[in-house]
């Protein structure tokens, strides 16, 4: 079982090593990086490349660690028993399996994605230590231990909104997805839009990287935004020349909505473009 990237996902060398090490040593892989650099995509692609089923567990601020194991719906059971339902006699009917349980008892070795773990409460990662380490947990209600027959490939993503505890980090492999450099970016664009016009890509990338350099943007456009934007440019069949001419009258690039996601950023950009225009005029 080795991951070598897929045709839709350009994996850098260091990323491959990290993924393969995590697969070989059966330890979770923690992925960090700027939003939109393909952290979640990675898990999907790894599952696709290995032909393994993917189990996704998306974390919200209200998610509790036990929800990943199982939930015992005592309220439902109480209600059923009041109504005299026969199901109430068996506690097993009211145990809802969580994603971790699902992953542990899967017939094939699955890829388990724990998405945006930093969204949850500070204690969340600590509560999963034992479960991810030993890949087993105990169900009190059923009085039995659920143990992974095959340790799933666990991928965890984080947007760095919270610090993760050391004890948790120690059990993971870690990879930081750097923002792709120009060459990698071209490879990524090529993999998404095979045969795209080089000139268009050149101009688009130039604008894109210029835009990322603008100081004070609230949300810098990232890979996924670039891809969306290119898609729009392609469907609209925008001429590379339009991108190139930098018409001062048109202050910001066409379809900028795909790149700038926030009206403050658009305004900032317009202001800068306005200043640039004034400078151009002043300088003749």
């Amino acid at each position: 079982m080795r991951f070598e990237g897929t045709k839709d996902y350009v994996a850098t060398e260091d990323l491959k090593v990290a993924v393969n090490a995590a697969i070989t040593l059966e330890r979770p892989l923690l992925i960090k990086g700027e939003p939109g650099t393909g952290k979640t995509m990675l898990a999907l692609e790894v599952a696709k490349a290995l032909g393994a089923p993917l189990i996704e567990w998306h974390i919200k601020s209200t998610t509790k660690a036990v929800q990943g194991l199982y939930e015992y719906d005592a309220v439902m059971r109480l209600r059923d028993s009041q109504l005299g339902d026969a199901r109430a006699a068996d506690i097993g009917n009211y145990i809802k399996r969580g994603k971790l349980w699902e992953a542990f008892e899967a017939t094939e070795r699955p890829v388990l994605l724990i998405d945006e773990i930093d969204k949850a409460d500070i204690e969340f990662p600590n509560d999963l230590l034992q479960e991810l380490d030993r890949m087993e947990f105990y169900v009190y209600e059923l009085n039995r231990t659920v143990k992974a027959a095959r340790r799933p490939i666990v991928m965890i993503t984080s947007n760095n909104e919270k610090e993760l505890p050391d004890a948790f980090l120690r059990r993971c492999f870690f990879h930081y997805i750097r923002f792709p450099d120009d060459d990698t970016m071209r490879a990524i664009v090529e993999s998404h839009f095979p045969g795209v016009k080089t000139r268009l890509v050149n101009e688009a990338l130039k604008i894109f990287y210029d835009m990322r350099k603008v100081p004070g943007l609230k949300k810098k456009p990232s890979t996924s935004e670039l891809l969306d934007w290119l898609k729009l440019l392609l469907t609209d069949d925008v001429d590379p020349e339009t991108l190139k001419q930098r018409d001062p009258a048109k202050l910001i690039p066409p379809m900028h909505g795909a790149l700038l996601k926030n009206e403050a950023d658009v305004m900032l950009f317009e202001r800068l473009a306005f200043l640039a225009r004034r400078e151009n005029r002043g300088g003749g």
Binding site: V17, A21, T24, L29, K162, R170, P215, G216
Partner: protein, 392 residues
Amino acid sequence: MFQRFFTELRAARVPVSLKEYLVLVEALEKDAIPPNVEDFYYLARATLIKDERYLDKFDRVFGHVFKGLENTVDAVNAEIPAEWLKALSEKFLTDEEKAQIEALGGWEKLMETLAERLKEQKERHEGGNKWIGTGGTSPYGNGGYNPEGVRIGGQGKGQGRAVKVWDKREYKNLDDQVELGVRNIKVALRRLRKFARTGAPDELDLDGTIAKSAREGYLDIVLRPERRNAVKVLLFFDIGGSMDSHVQLCQELFSAARAEFKHMEFFYFHNCLYESVWKDNRRRHDEKTATWDVLHRFPHDYRVVFVGDATMSPYEITYPGGSVEHWNEEPGALWLQRVAQIYERCVWLNPTPRQHWDHTPSIQLVREIIGDKRMFPLTIEGLDGAMRELSR
């Protein structure tokens, strides 16, 4: 060899534990990678480093330990630490160090400049024998306090793309790499937590359930909204200059705050608040945010915490153009007033001991502006008082 690598990483204060080292050995045993240096580098990085802020240190240690193999590592980022400079001051450069720098990217030119500077410095300082970090003078730059030494940063891959940062005053970014080991800070953290946890309680509303069930005649579960950490905090850090001696303390506070508050924004300023602030101190000259934007963006229910020694010339507060770094149109006092007006919950944490406050006119001035009772010393009691003031 690996063990030396491990100990050197520890020596460089990269938090690696025995467990991670064993995992690395296990991975090598299981042939997780093809046997070449590059893959080993990636594997070691994925195994030992758990936070991107240590990547740079890791690269340096790796390059250092596996000397002779490091040409396969293309991303290097060198920082000349103060110890080096101290060594330099005694014997200029040893061959070893020269080799080291060259190995890291062949920055002959850089070294030339360094040597030149050192020569100049020697002439100017003839008779003296202390060069670095004494009495708040810096051998390089423009007369600031700079105990961290000179930073030479190289970015990206490839050779010789080092950027010299001689002339700009480069302060260490207030990152949060300080471990909260000290008991004091832990206590402080608890104080902060107390303040952060104010809000509506959550969980199953037991009383409500009992009351409702009694009224309705059957079991009726009542739930109430979840308790959230609703406190929003805006931090302004004074950075550089006279604050250098308090950096450690501020870093610890910053770490604590960052772990604790979900809604936390921070900005840096220098000495006094003026029309712009910044978020990345290394790029403070290019990436600034207008203070007006900050005041507009964050609603008045944010709690504002200034951290600074407020120690400066009074002109820096009261006069337009008083700033030591740039021309400010409006006096700093006006900006502080604006903040104090917009945010009714606002405190100033001052790392200088309280007994010095009365002898420093600028501290008095700041206290007059933001409110006499709103300045607190950066101590456990002070922090406690400040948090109480904020959660009032």
